[in-house]
Symmetry: C2
DNA sequence: TTGAATATTTAACGGCCGTTGATTAATATT
DNA sequence: AATATTAATCAACGGCCGTTAAATATTCAA
């Protein structure tokens, strides 16, 4: 059942123009300082027309993020057929390749306040799929120092976010124990 | 040398009133929908007066975050005198206690777009101090499943952020290897 | 090719923003 | 208690926001 309803050419043209204009501005200046006026003017489109297709500039960024997330997910899916996380865990290189290939966008994304948008979506996708692939014996190679510090710190914040977002489902003691265990497992020790 | 320049009472009163008004609104509604008008009205202060003390609502939130961060840092420092990370790694309970004690604020913070602000600061503080306390032998206790997934996912995103923010200083292959090692170390394996 | 459908433009609205200059009020100091 | 200092108010500005209604232009399909 081919459900191919042809979209009006005007819509395609306009959307593409707005999108292009926005991505240029996004790479050029701070997201918070981008105005709908600018986007419309650069896209050679009436200001009102932008609102015909997007709620606001946040919605516009949302759309771009959505596409990247879908690309990343299919990147994981294509390489291993039975499990999404399998490909992701086995070889993360293609994922980094993808980030690298779209450096201008992601550089703006992460230098920017709106990183949370992207972070939220990717985080949700990953944690869902990683959940299926845990627990195995190990041998421990060397990890670059600064990188590992970043790894652990980010992980810690992630747990705090999770705990708060779930209305603190565990006691502070339990959470503290969990974190200590995770630190130990990663060879981070006091004194 | 006591450099105690008494601040004008009007300033103290006004700032306190604005701050209180803002924190109430922050707990009540989405940050993005809070207006300076609202803050001023609830604080019984002229709209212009708010701008006398803060650049904008982001600056206001910033101030609140700054205070919490300082509290958290001194929490770590007070318990162990020679090293900040020592207390943090040895027993994270007081940190969770602090979050719990200020639940309304942090719930708003993390449900909210501006989490990145807080995240950035705490992340920076932690990674700096964790860097000093790595590498030790280990024994591996059990970690709750969902929590660990969150832990790993958040850590992965953190590494990506770090890599992008540092202008991709390593090749994608190197990064992929590092991440694989970290996954292995935490007993996350493909297939 | 023509008519129907619809995307876009135009102009205008009230609202909040951040800033300014002049005025009024509160405070600190003597 | 009188005075100098300075904080807060008030009113007004141009700018962008998001929305609307009517007019215009473009596309689609018969």
């Amino acid at each position: 059942m081919e459900n191919a309803i042809k979209t009006d050419r005007r819509i395609l043209r306009t959307k593409q123009s707005i999108r292009k204009s926005f991505l240029e501005l996004f790479a050029e200046k701070e997201f918070e300082h981008i105005t709908i006026n600018e986007i419309a003017e650069r896209a050679n489109v009436n200001r009102g027309t932008v609102y015909l297709h997007y709620n606001d500039k946040y919605d516009l960024l949302d759309t771009c993020i959505e596409e990247h997330i879908n690309e990343l997910i299919s990147l994981c899916k294509n390489r291993e057929n039975d499990s999404v996380s399998q490909g992701m865990v086995h070889d993360p290189k293609p994922i980094f390749d993808y980030f690298h290939a779209h450096f201008p966008f992601f550089a703006a994304m992460f230098s920017n306040q709106r990183a949370f948008l992207f972070r939220d979506r990717l985080l949700n996708f990953m944690s869902t799929n990683l959940l299926l692939k845990m627990e195995r014996p190990a041998n421990m190679p060397v990890i670059e120092h600064e990188l590992k510090a970043q790894f652990m710190a980010s992980a810690f914040i992630g747990i705090v976010e999770w705990w708060i977002r779930h209305q603190t489902p565990h006691t502070t003691q339990f959470m503290a124990d969990q974190v200590r265990n995770l630190f130990e497992q990663n060879r981070v020790y006091p004194a």
